[in-house]
Amino acid sequence: MHDKDKLATAAANGNVELVESLLLNGADVNGVNRFGRTPIQVMMMGSTPVARVLLAHGADPNVVDAHAGATPLHDAARTGFLDTVKILIQFGANPDVGDNNNYRPVDLAQQNGHQEKTSKVSRVALFRSFAHYPVIPAFIPSYLK
């Protein structure tokens, strides 16, 4: 595997130990892989531990996919992983930006809820409440103190 792909691949596989060790060994948290994507764009969206580590190391949560126009927040919302949505917003992801189809993350969360009508309302409500969370400054991991 190409060296520059390692961090993105570890993030995509949800391998939080490897993500942490690569970052501690100097991997660029916002470096692109050979497909032009940063780790936070391709991370396993259900892995809140990976999201947290990347964001704590300064990953840009507002990076836009060159072709789809989607941000990580769009993808976390589409796939329905609300814990990851929450962390992204806490670290400054913009919930009001539209993708190439002009869908905001909340629109994709709503579409995601269509299959199960019962959870749709609560899902969207929860999502809206996260949008009003105070943005917390990136915390410094204990091992860097």
Binding site: M1, D5, A8, T9, A11, A12, N13, G14, V16, N33, F35, R37, Q41, V42, M44, M45, G46, S47, T48, P49, D65, H67, A68, A70, H74, D75, R78, T79, G80, F81, L82, D99, N101, L108, E116, S119
Partner: protein, 304 residues
């Protein structure tokens, strides 16, 4: 679902997520829907006859399974064949991508681990997917927490099944490190094997749901078997398969240990099911269908 000739157009790879043994696996974006998919490619040798019959058969089987739209199996969305040279064709299988696996799901569980009701639900779905595959005579062969996917709604979907035979000729060529931890004794002993191998793996995963860490972490085949026998006991001479080179004398005599020593959190019903899954003799091991009927799943109120 047509055999698409060009794979590069609709799906754009965004990251390499695995491979080595048989080809490469990419996380990609479906440009039409915006959703992520998993692209699994394998290079196959071709001649004037086109693709080998075995490959065509395996792909046809995967497509037939897809028609059942089973809730606990990842969707096969597309199959693409790209001619690379006169002798080689790249076959790409496009699967639904679920952005969470059971490994991550278990890591995220806050102490003291998953509630029993959640373990029951996950196991019910896992066994449902498995008995579906087994009823179509498809073995998974490599079941592990990394290829058991869990959606944000808690739906379990099995991935990477039925690929072993498509990949088999390539796997022989490229030695890679694969995990032994979920491998059944008959596979470790290189004896003949069938659907019970997946039940053994399921048993290991069942125990891991309670423990939040793997049950048997061997570093070699012999080490893996030693760790297994230290819990289930050394099988008797009559149970030892006759078609294997590794003899029973290579292992120390061991009596079975109480399974609750390894999995203290498990209930009596759970322990009974677990032991039926971790049975040495594949012919006496419980089937996926019977496991679904086990009293562990009967709706008695439990404390969690």
């Amino acid at each position: 679902m047509a055999m698409t000739q060009e794979s590069g157009i609709q799906y754009e790879p965004v990251a390499e997520i695995g491979g080595g043994a048989y080809g490469t696996v990419y996380k990609a974006r479906d440009k039409q829907s915006g959703q992520f998919v998993a692209l699994k490619s394998v290079r196959v040798q071709t001649d004037q006859e086109g693709l080998p019959l075995s490959t065509v058969r395996e792909v046809a089987l995967l497509r037939r399974l897809e028609q059942f739209d089973h809730p606990n199996i990842v969707k096969l969305m597309d199959v693409c064949a790209t001619l690379r040279t006169d002798q080689e064709t790249k076959v790409t299988l496009v699967f639904e991508h679920v952005d969470q696996d059971l490994k991550t799901y278990l890591e995220k569980a806050p102490p003291p681990g998953l509630p029993v009701s959640r373990i029951k639900d996950l196991m019910r779905q896992l066994l449902c997917g498995l008995s579906f595959l087994h009823s179509h005579r498809v073995l998974h062969r490599d079941l592990k927490p990394e290829n058991i996917l869990v959606t944000s709604r808690g739906q379990v979907k099995l991935a990477d099944f039925g690929l072993a035979r498509i990949y088999s000729c390539h796997m022989a060529l490229t030695p890679v490190v694969v995990t032994l931890w979920y491998r059944s004794p008959e596979v470790l002993l290189q004896s003949t094997y069938a659907t019970p191998v997946d039940i053994w793996s399921t048993g290991c995963i069942f125990a891991e749901m309670f423990r939040c860490k793997p049950l048997f972490c061997g570093e070699s085949e012999v080490d893996q078997l030693t760790k297994i026998f230290s819990v289930i006991g050394l099988p008797s001479e009559d149970e030892w398969p006759t078609d294997v080179t590794l003899s029973r004398q290579n292992f120390c005599p061991q009596s079975p240990q109480p399974i609750t020593d390894s999995v203290p959190e498990i209930s009596e019903e759970g322990a009974d099911l677990l032991l039926k899954m971790l049975t040495f003799d594949p012919l006496r091991r419980i089937s996926a269908l019977s496991a679904q009927e086990h009293r562990f799943f009967s709706d008695q109120p439990d404390n969690s």
